[in-house]
């Protein structure tokens, strides 16, 4: 194989050398676009390298290309991938297949779905052994047990089917499967993104330990610079298909060279700190002291003109008293699911309350009960004079005119086929009684309020023409359309790229301050809770384990669960400060 | 892997083009069908297309059930056969039938007849049979006991006493098929008795039976054994037109499209004979305006080109029918000579218009308009699936459209069509008249007030709701006369009334579709030798089976 590679020669201990690699997307009926453009880099043996970028940066595309898993419409259009001196960009499929044992392996983002639902875990392992024949017949069972042990799962897991395992367990199984190939290179594509915070943390630890003990070369692809910096020795930062920075982790943390990297880094902070600030976000204590509106500080060029409330009446509080919710058992013979256990709290007018906990802690169920979507099994929920649990369908409308919701996934919360104007017009027409030009005017005011200007342009757009942050602003504008007293925000920023989060949070905070809307903020992300809420309640298994002022609770947690949650927050500074 | 390259597209297009072309090329060819007789059938065996099993044949040989196998007719013989073609009575199990007075019929039972199990056939069997039908009216399909009061055996005679003067009843009663007392007396419930192992007096006995085919073998004990030359009969269950043409049948009863081009062409010894079996007619609902007006009916009649209607319905194989109710030429002898042109009515739109005018209908803007100023619309009811009738109706529709009448066609399913007839729920209905072989029966069924029922009440005959004291009187006289000449005269008068009053409008003859092969046997009925109708079922089949001779080739 000729090696007339342009550019720098590969270092002598390089396992992988990528030269001028380009990957093009050629979807039917659309123009081709380059997802990865002229990328070159080397990986040394035993190195643990992070590949960081926000959505659309091409990092996963690159990961798939490295392991030759690109599928139409993606295609490697140019460049070479030298693995152990051999160009794998152009070998045939059978040679490639053989190369996968003892070569390169990949752990997919959605580890949940990476296992064949109708095959037992044992068969998954045996399929790999059979395909490559690298484990003798009589040693297969033992080898499978060893591997499953390496990812800290009991041997009994081998008898199970993927559907019987939790997400974290499934991701561990796929790591073990990748490991069973005895690869020299492992590519982890967002291995923990779909998992719960605490589980994320544990899985990452396992990956780190395995890398050390097995000694494979690893690439960790993630959108979360925090996680990557915590785990890896070297980081490649990708932006719009190009590697913008490549350097040791410590150097990137202390002295990033690219603006983009600096911007990413600025969005990390430790929720336990005395003072927590993000770009555009002064700490609450400072703001209070200075008596300045935060949003004015944040973006002077973009200060939203806040609409005066059309109805400024006495505010009502939401009172939750001894609420429990029990779901019937999901399968016969199992225990009923107690999603919420005896939760009581009051959301005072104008207050902001954080409800934190990992998934399954019952926080979303509480939101559903407050908005009348679900009825509590025990206890009562009232909003002003309304007994929420006893509302009939028609009355729910009255509740919704005062209690609105901001959804987690801005991509799912907007009907892709309706223009922004239509989406916002509906609640305006339904709740305020405005019609025609008045309603249209109101829609534009709302867009202005959430900072989507020029409003005329945005009104005419469809959701897919907006970025995630913009969509979330539309969702917030919709929630505001009925002049609500309470907004319930269910993980409003968890689906957004790190750089977009602060803006949306700032908007929420702004609205609360200017409009006097009470905010129930549901999240697993303690940092954001710290930034925008006064009070916090930590939920675990449906019950409140800790509550108090947000800053107080996060700085001096008393419950072990709260501590665990805090520890799970990725923090590059902390990680590298400690080492 | 290239999915969508121009080359592939061309290939796809080429495949489709090739398919279409080959289809068209194939379409241009025509394929000759030749008859290929089953070599396993001997020269002494008749293959008969008659007994269609659907989906397969049940072993039912109880002659009194409508679902009885056709073979029953060859085993259970009647006292006399009413030749529905000629109207003659042929003495059969009764060697002689006498009517001493209009209320009594005497059947002299034939001597020397044996049941196929060897037992002698006696007058007691006849009396038992009549008794059986009396006790089980559901078996009395011919309705013998509608006319009978009692039966007695006097020596070799069986004397039947009638309910009143009823000479024509003899022709119904004589058709009763006789069953052996020594077997049927032991049957618990004759109404559901399938008679799987039949014993009869007829020329054949049941041979091998399977749901797809059964055979009959010559009855060695048959009283006319010398006249029966075919040793075996085979009745397959599947008798599609394709089967009939290709599989070498000797005798079939089926209309076949283009009989000359198919049946006759398939084998040089194939012949056919399609004598009239009834008159396909339009029944006007006589209780409904304007059909109650004889002038209107005449207008409709003169507006018809019956030749065209008949041609459309039967592809030109059947003749147009006259307005006498007689089947010609079979019943030429009984035809009223006073009626002009043998009752044929020639289309004449002018005459039609004059009759319509008498009925109050005039032509405006090409439409026939009534006195109320509304254009005339008529609905003709025919049974769904009776395609020959439908073809006729389509032809009528075109002809009447020419004189300004809009015709709608109603095609209920056969059962619903029957219901419509019975309830009088129609304006004009297609139907068949005559063909029983008895002049009295033919007219009585359609004209007698005995069967009259008001609209809404179910009628069992006389669906047009005809009512005439004159006709009733003629029919009553018919019942009480034994004089053939007088019967003939009465027939003339009924024909005249039929011709004048148009209680139904005759269109064309429905055919008796006889298909024969002279390869093994000759002596089939034909236009030259019209001794009986070519039907494969009913007792007249016995006349054919005892008439066949081995052909020169098989002798």
């Amino acid at each position: 194989m000729s090696t007339e590679a342009p550019g720098p020669a590969a270092p002598s201990d390089a396992l992988l050398s990528v030269r001028d690699l380009s990957v093009v997307y050629e979807p039917a009926g659309a123009d081709p676009t380059f997802a990865v453009e002229n990328v070159s880099f080397d990986l040394r043996r035993g190195e643990f390298v992070g590949l960081v970028g926000e959505s659309g940066s091409g990092k996963s595309t690159l990961g798939f290309a490295l392991t030759r898993l690109s599928k139409p419409p993606a295609r490697i259009s140019h460049g070479r991938i030298l693995f152990d001196g051999r160009d794998i960009a152009s070998i045939d499929s059978e040679a490639l297949r053989e190369q996968r044992q003892g070569g390169f392996a990949m752990v997919l983002q959605s580890g949940m779905n990476a296992l064949n639902p109708v095959r037992s875990i044992r068969n998954h392992f045996f399929d790999v052994f059979k395909a490559h024949g690298h484990v003798p017949h009589d040693r297969r069972e033992q080898r499978a047990r060893d591997l499953i042990g390496k990812v800290e799962l009991p041997a009994a897991t081998l008898d199970r089917f993927p559907g019987e395992l939790s997400g974290g367990m499934r991701q561990r199984v796929s790591i073990a499967l990748a490991l069973s190939l005895e690869p020299q290179l492992m590519v982890f594509d967002e291995p923990t993104t779909a998992l719960d915070v605490l589980v994320q943390h544990a899985v990452m630890n396992t990956i780190r330990d395995l890398q050390k003990s097995e000694g494979f070369t690893a690439v960790l692809i993630s959108h979360d610079l925090g996680i990557v910096l915590e785990a890896t020795e070297r980081v490649l930062v990708m932006h719009e298909g190009v590697i913008v920075e490549d350097g040791p982790s410590s150097q990137i943390l202390s002295n990033p060279s690219a603006d983009y990297t600096r911007m990413l880094l600025s969005h990390y902070a430790d929720p336990r700190a005395e003072i927590v600030s993000l770009p555009g976000f002064e700490d609450r204590s400072i703001r209070r002291d200075q008596g300045v509106s935060r949003s004015a500080l944040a973006s002077p060029e973009h200060a939203p003109t806040v609409v005066t409330r059309s109805i400024s009446t006495a505010q009502e509080s939401i009172v939750v008293k001894g609420v429990s919710k029990t779901y019937p058992p999901p399968r016969r013979g199992e225990q009923p699911v107690r999603a919420v256990r005896d939760v009581s709290f009051t959301l005072e007018p104008g207050q902001s309350l954080a409800l934190v906990g990992q998934s399954g802690s019952g926080k979303s169920t509480i939101a559903k009960m407050i908005t009348g979507v679900e009825k509590p099994s025990e206890g009562s929920i009232s909003f002003g004079g309304l007994d929420v649990a006893k509302l009939r369908r028609g009355q729910l409308r009255d509740l919704h005119s005062n209690v609105q919701m901001v959804f987690q996934d801005p991509y799912a919360a907007l009907n892709p086929l309706h223009t922004i104007e239509y989406t916002l017009m509906r609640p305006v027409v339904n709740f305020t009684g405005l019609k025609g030009d008045d309603a249209r005017h109101r829609v534009r005011e709302l867009l202005d309020t959430v900072g989507l200007t020029p409003v005329e342009q945005f009104a005419a757009k469809l959701p897919h023409e907006l970025s995630g942050g913009q969509r979330q602003r539309v969702v917030i504008a919709r929630a505001l359309a009925s002049d609500p007293q309470v907004i319930i925000a269910d993980e409003p920023v968890s689906m957004l790229d790190v750089s977009l989060r602060a803006g949306v949070l700032a908007l929420l905070e702004d609205l609360r301050e200017k409009w006097g809307v009470s905010l129930l903020y549901i999240t697993h992300d303690l940092l954001s809770a710290r930034l925008i809420t006064d009070n916090i309640m930590v939920l675990h298994d449906g019950a409140v384990v800790e509550r108090g002022e947000t800053a107080e609770v996060l700085q001096r947690p008393t419950d072990a669960y709260t501590v665990a949650l805090l520890d799970a927050v990725p923090n590059p500074a902390r990680a590298h400060g400690a080492t | 892997m290239h999915t969508n390259t121009p080359k592939r597209r061309r290939r796809l297009t080429a495949v489709i083009a090739a398919l279409a072309t080959s289809a068209l090329v194939l379409t241009g060819c025509s394929i000759d069908i030749k008859s290929a007789p089953d070599p396993s059938l001997g020269a002494d065996t008749l293959l008969i297309a008659a007994d269609t099993g659907s989906p397969s044949m049940q072993r039912v040989f109880n002659p009194y059930l409508p679902n009885t196998r056709i073979g029953s007719w060859n085993m259970f013989e009647p006292l006399a056969i009413l030749n529905d073609l000629t109207g003659e009575d042929v003495p059969w199990l009764a060697s002689k039938t006498t009517i001493p007075d209009p209320q009594t019929v005497v059947f002299t039972i034939r001597q020397g007849v044996k049941w196929s199990d060897g037992q002698a056939f006696t007058p007691a069997d006849v009396a038992f049979t009549f008794d059986l039908l009396k006790k089980n009216p559901s078996l009395d399909l011919k309705g013998a006991w509608q006319y009978m009061k009692s039966v007695e055996v006097k020596g070799d005679d069986v004397v039947v006493h009638l309910n009143g003067d009823d000479v024509p009843a003899a022709q119904v009663i004589e058709q009763t098929q006789i069953v052996p007392e020594h077997i049927w007396s032991k049957v618990k419930d004759p109404t559901t008795f399938t008679n799987p192992d039949p014993v009869g007096t007829g020329p054949y006995t049941l041979g091998n039976f399977t749901p797809q085919e059964y055979a009959m073998d010559k009855n060695k004990l048959y009283w006319q054994a010398d006249k029966v030359e075919a040793e075996h009969l085979v009745y397959p269950a599947s008798n599609t037109q394709l089967d009939v043409v290709t599989k070498g049948y000797d005798w079939g009863f089926s209309f076949i499209t283009d009989v000359k081009g198919t049946w006759e062409k398939a084998n040089p010894s194939n012949t056919y004979w399609f004598p009239p079996g009834g008159t396909i007619s339009l029944f006007p609902n006589l209780t409904e305006k304007p059909f109650d007006d004889v002038n209107f009916r005449k207008g409709l009649s003169y507006a018809l080109d019956r030749k065209a209607v008949g041609d459309a319905a039967a592809e030109g194989y059947m003749e147009q029918a006259g307005q006498t109710g007689m089947l010609l030429p079979n019943q030429d002898a009984l035809l009223n000579p006073a009626i002009p042109d043998k009752g044929l009515i020639t289309q004449n739109d002018k005459t039609a218009a004059s009759y319509f005018a008498k009925a109050g209908y005039t032509t405006k803007n090409g439409k026939l308009v009534g006195s109320d100023g509304k254009p005339l619309t008529i609905t003709i009811t025919t049974a769904n699936g009776y395609t020959d009738w439908l073809r006729a109706v389509q032809s009528i529709t075109k002809q009447w459209a020419a004189v300004g009448i809009t015709v709608k066609v109603a095609q209920p399913q056969p059962a619903a069509y029957q219901l419509a007839l019975r309830n009088g729920d129609f304006q004009l209905a297609m139907g068949s008249v005559g063909g029983t072989g008895s002049v009295y029966q033919d007219f009585a069924n359609n004209l007698s007030s005995e069967f009259y029922a008001p609209i809404g009440k179910q009628a069992s005959g006389n669906f047009g709701r005809y009512k005439s004291s004159e006709v009733d009187a003629l029919l009553t006289r018919f019942k009480s006369t034994t004089d053939e000449q007088e019967q003939k005269q009465l027939g003339y008068q009924l024909q005249q009334i039929y011709y004048d009053e148009l209680p139904s409008i005759g269109l064309y003859y429905g055919g008796s579709w006889g298909l024969f092969s002279t390869q093994k046997f000759t002596g089939w009925p034909s236009a030259k030798d019209p001794y009986t109708s070519p039907k494969t079922y009913v007792s007249t089949a016995l006349l054919i089976l005892t008439h066949l001779k081995k052909s020169e080739a098989t002798k």
């Binding site: 898993l69 297949r97 190369q99 996968r100 044992q101 990949m106 997919l108 779905n113 990476a114 064949n116 639902p117 399929d127 059979k130 395909a131 490559h132 559907g163 019987e164 499967l177 069973s180 016969r332 | 892997m1 069908i33 290929a36 659907s54 989906p55 397969s56 049940q58 039912v60 109880n62 059930l65 409508p66 679902n67 529905d84 009216p137 559901s138 078996l139 011919k142 309705g143 119904v172 559901t192 399938t194 749901p211 797809q212 397959p236 269950a237 599947s238 089967d243 009834g278 209920p412 399913q413 056969p414 059962a415 069509y417 029957q418 219901l419 019975r422 005559g434 063909g435 029966q441 005959g461």
Partner: protein, 326 residues
């Protein structure tokens, strides 16, 4: 438990409603069974008033008013005593059905299974070799063949292979000379007789399975576990069959269940054209002759078997898909 009870309750309710519908539907048809019988007889020659009367007595104007008839019918359903057929008087309904059922079950049932298996395999192949002639041929051929009207295909096959080239028999389920039973002659003859109807059903139903499987298989091929299996270097055969196809087949099982349930109804058009003595032919006869007892029995049988087949598929689903176990 409450959920299960509700399901069972709903099933019983559906069954009852279907049974009731089966009772009333035939009675909606204008005209009585006698009318139907007369209509049939009148094609052979004039039918006199006396004949009509005899048949009316024979078939028996059904006893009592509609409610009483209905209760009587329910009793028949429960006791499975369906009485005597009108069309095939005096044959008991049970006898007719039991004669016809084996032919339909074996012919249509077997062909349905064969079509499902072959169609599914071809669909897997088409999806796996997407874009090659192995995809184009079964996909296009299947689309085209499944667009053929059943009876038309049947007629053409019958004409060419039956009458012109005389390769296969033209009607019936077995040779005239065979005695039904477990003898080689009969079985051989029955097999030969089943070829044309079987081929007809196969041709016209194969396409649907091919297309269905191809589509789900293509979707499955994009699933993560297939990508992961490829990333682990499993052999293409293993990936195609054990990973992709194994999962892709699950959604098609529901359609297969309905198709299996429909087997008992036979294939009316095909059986009619080939004069095949199965349930489909019987059904057509029953419906066109207003044979209430026969219709009711057949409808009940079909209804129950559709429900039963769905139930069996649910069980099969449980076996094939561990997610539904427990």
């Amino acid at each position: 438990m409450k959920y299960a009870l509700r399901k069972v309750g709903l099933l019983i309710l559906t069954l009852w409603a279907a049974i009731t519908l089966n009772f009333f539907l035939p009675r909606l048809m204008p005209g009585s069974p006698t009318d139907a019988a007369i209509a049939k007889l009148s094609q052979n020659g004039p039918v006199t008033a006396a004949t009509r009367k005899a048949i009316e007595i024979q078939l028996g104007v059904p006893d009592g008013n509609v409610l009483e008839q209905y209760l009587q019918y329910l009793k028949q359903v429960v006791t499975l005593q369906f009485g005597i057929s009108y069309t095939f008087y005096p044959q008991p309904v049970a006898e007719l059905v039991s004669q016809a059922l084996p032919y339909t079950l074996i012919l249509v049932g077997l062909v349905t299974i064969v079509a499902f298996v072959c169609g599914t395999l071809l669909g897997v192949l088409a999806a796996w070799k997407r874009g090659t002639w192995l995809d184009a041929l079964p996909t296009l051929g299947g689309s085209f063949a499944s667009a053929f009207p059943y009876f038309w295909t049947a007629l053409l096959l019958l004409f060419f292979l039956g009458y012109v080239f005389k390769i296969f028999p033209t009607s019936g389920a077995y040779g005239v000379t065979n005695t039904p039973g477990l003898n080689a002659a009969f079985l051989g003859s029955a097999a030969v007789h089943a070829v044309l109807p079987a081929v007809t059903i196969l041709i016209t139903s194969l396409g649907g399975w091919i297309l269905g499987m191809r589509n789900t298989m293509i979707s499955t091929l994009g699933d993560d576990y297939v990508t992961f299996a490829e990333a682990n270097g499993l052999k293409p055969r293993t990936v195609a069959l054990r990973y992709a196809a194994r999962n892709a087949i699950l959604p098609n099982l529901t359609s297969f269940g309905l198709a299996l349930g429909g087997v008992v109804g036979g294939s009316v058009l095909v059986e009619t054209v080939f004069g095949y003595p199965g349930i489909g032919y019987l059904l057509l006869k029953a419906v066109t002759n207003q044979d209430y007892p026969l219709m009711q029995a057949l409808f009940l049988m079909i209804t129950v078997s559709v429900l039963l087949a769905n139930f069996l598929v649910d069980i099969l689903y449980g076996v094939l898909d561990p997610r539904t176990r427990k």
